[in-house]
Symmetry: C2
Subunit: 418 residues, 2 copies
């Protein structure tokens, strides 16, 4: 496939994240209520307005008037295909719809973005092998780096849906219980090892009851976003035994505002890596279910320029989102429209491809030197983190835009907590 | 306080769970749509109908037409107090409202109960010390029984809200990955160590952003239910390192249908036990925030009589729900109306007061003999589990009713999963 031509000129570029090939879905406002929009070049097509005006009609609609994409997701894959087909025709160069649609384009620069979905529940996985080995080595030593179950189970834990925020939301450094290795008792103080996690998020667009196969799981996925699972490593180290991370991961999870659909990513499917231990039959993939998506992380200290601190690719994952979602249902756990699955931190094999400060600075022992000359072991107040990602086609890109957030200082510990 | 007299005769008994002193809130139906109801003796007062008829008016109402209690919770403590006050007056012996209300009473025997709230998110804690020591001893040995953080942190993990079901719902034994200690690889099969956990659930009735104090947390709690956190011990043992339980806890969590309000439990407040290690200041309780609630667990094998397998009390907890909720917010985690907090398994110090089969049969090494003569290490298909609880006053009880569920056989493992 090559770059598809649109009558929206800014979409006809090898550099835009949002050519006609992409058409990701978001929620935006321009002072008034939230609306559903489709990114095209530097613009947003206001599909809430198009539906209200009767220009766009969806089966069992209206589906776009609530200002999020949950109703479209609930409507199912037939509607997903119909909507994408309509948009690709109506926005194509030479379309007879240009005059109808042009008044409903909004400059992205003038729009405020919101969460594209109402998040039902949030599950975070641990499915990048390089990350698991790196963290395991630091926490438990090289001999015990990879837990015994890791090559058999896409390890996951339930996160906190109320903590999911859209890109652009500032993130306040958390307070929490910290215990120095040599201290007898913990203290309550701001996290000193606040970190990012570079992940992809898969959005569940169809519900399930009972166990589903990997293929059925793949069919349930609506699309993907960039995801930063902000993590307080010092809170985590003290709290996580025996029941896993809790407050260390509850401050914020940022996602990019545009859901890149599974249909847009279809040309970029790729297989998970060769298995180092045979998987149980239920986790076998019937085809390639990962995607070839280049990823990078930028860190911008307050008032300074940005440094790219990591470059990697989603194809580094050991388990796909479809495998994770299948495993999620094994116990009979019901899945719901709007569930969000974090992939786990995506780290490549080389030092400059690691998706967290914990790994990049090796637990703080090897601080990074930024382009600005600043040194970083973990995040400092004022730092802005920006994730970017794109699948690269022949003369075009299917991009995710940015997932960005700035670290604000911790709130003062209240008197009654001191 | 003594037994308050009502014109509903069945409420005027020392034996009923639902005297005028109690007035718990539930959701029910009798063939038609779900309605909000208040238990009184053997009856349910249909407050959805009363509100629709204009007999009951709540500030900023209507609040009872959706068939769950979320709108009342959102309305806040002033409305909570006003509603309880109105009900206690209108249902009292000699009330002038008797003629208006009597037509809106439904026999509990004729009603189907539903989840009383739309659950926002579900968090499960691990705050019973006897349980933590018992499980820790079995899993990690007596020397490492209590994790280092346990006396400082009300340990919790996020559960799965989609798995929460109302009492009476059958529970299908889960399939999952199991690995025998001497096996090299796991297999996919029905859990052979399926278990209950006797817990109380606290229902969060007000939202928060940022950290709240223990007192503010207590003020946010709407009421309490009985909670059975069904657990697959063999799935848990293989999956839980390093990020905690996942599919082992995702099959079902049953709650009793009646929310006993904080106001009804007020006479039964009691303090958490003496601290074995000083708590950090933020977790200090300004007053008694546990409750004296007698609890029991009944096990009924298919076609046999019931055995009471455990008797204990909610006052056995080391941390109160208010402390747990306060800790939950330390990282800045937003709490929402309808969040459900499981207390953690409630085990007393003696063998017959343990709140799980894992503890009662000591990991299967000491099977229980039931009154029917049957032997049990873990739950068998057809077993019915029933939790009961009540705070005992002077000649009256504030009861929770039952939280019951029957274990159904596992679904056959699909061909593609074998």
């Amino acid at each position: 496939m090559t770059l598809l031509q649109s009558w929206v000129e800014s979409a006809n570029s090898a550099d835009t994240d949002f050519p006609l090939n992409n058409l990701p879905y978001g929620a935006f406002s321009t002072g008034g209520p939230r609306r559903c929009g489709v990114a095209i070049g530097a613009q947003i097509l206001d599909v809430t307005a198009l539906e209200a005006a009767g220009i766009l009609t969806l089966e069992n609609g209206p589906l776009l008037q609530a200002g999020d994409w949950n109703a479209v997701m609930s409507a199912g894959p037939t509607v997903w295909d119909a909507l994408r087909g309509w948009l690709q025709t109506a926005l194509a160069a030479g379309s007879g719809q240009q005059a109808n649609l042009a008044p409903h384009l909004v400059d992205q620069a003038n729009a405020q973005m919101h969460l594209p979905i109402t998040v039902a529940e949030y599950t975070d996985f641990y499915a990048g092998k390089n990350h698991a080995v790196n963290v395991g080595t630091m926490f438990r030593g090289a001999e015990n780096a990879l837990p015994a179950n890791w090559l058999s189970i896409p390890i996951g834990y339930n996160g906190r849906a109320s903590s999911v925020v859209v890109s652009g939301t500032d993130v306040v450094r958390p307070n929490g219980q910290l215990k120095a290795p040599d201290a007898e008792l913990p203290r309550f103080a701001p996290s000193a090892r606040f970190d990012l996690e570079l992940e992809m998020g898969a959005i569940v667009g169809q519900p399930s009851e009972g166990m589903v196969s990997v293929q059925e799981a793949d069919d349930m996925i609506f699309g993907y976003v960039l995801l930063n699972d902000w993590s307080a490593r010092d809170i985590q180290a003290w709290e996580y035994q025996p029941l896993g991370p809790f407050q260390a991961k509850a401050t914020a999870t940022s996602i990019s505002p545009w859901i890149v659909t599974k249909a847009a990513l279809e040309p970029f499917r790729t297989s998970t890596p060769e298995r180092e231990r045979p998987l149980l039959a239920y986790l076998t993939e019937p085809g390639p279910m990962l995607y070839d998506i280049d990823l990078e992380v930028g860190l911008t200290p307050s008032g300074k320029g940005e440094s790219i601190i990591a470059r990697t690719n989603y194809n580094q994952m050991y388990y796909s989102a479809a495998q994770q979602l299948c495993h999620h249902t094994t116990s009979g756990c019901a899945m719901r429209v709007g569930d969000l699955l974090g992939s786990g931190t995506i780290s490549g094999p080389s030092k400059d491809s690691r998706g967290s400060m914990l790994e990049l600075s090796w637990g703080g022992k090897e601080p990074l030197t930024l382009d600005s000359g600043d040194s970083r072991s973990f995040l400092e107040d004022g730092d802005r983190l920006t994730l970017r990602g794109a699948a690269l086609g022949d003369g075009y890109r299917v991009g995710f835009g940015e997932c960005t957030g700035k670290v604000l200082p911790a709130k003062p510990v209240p008197d009654w907590a001191q």
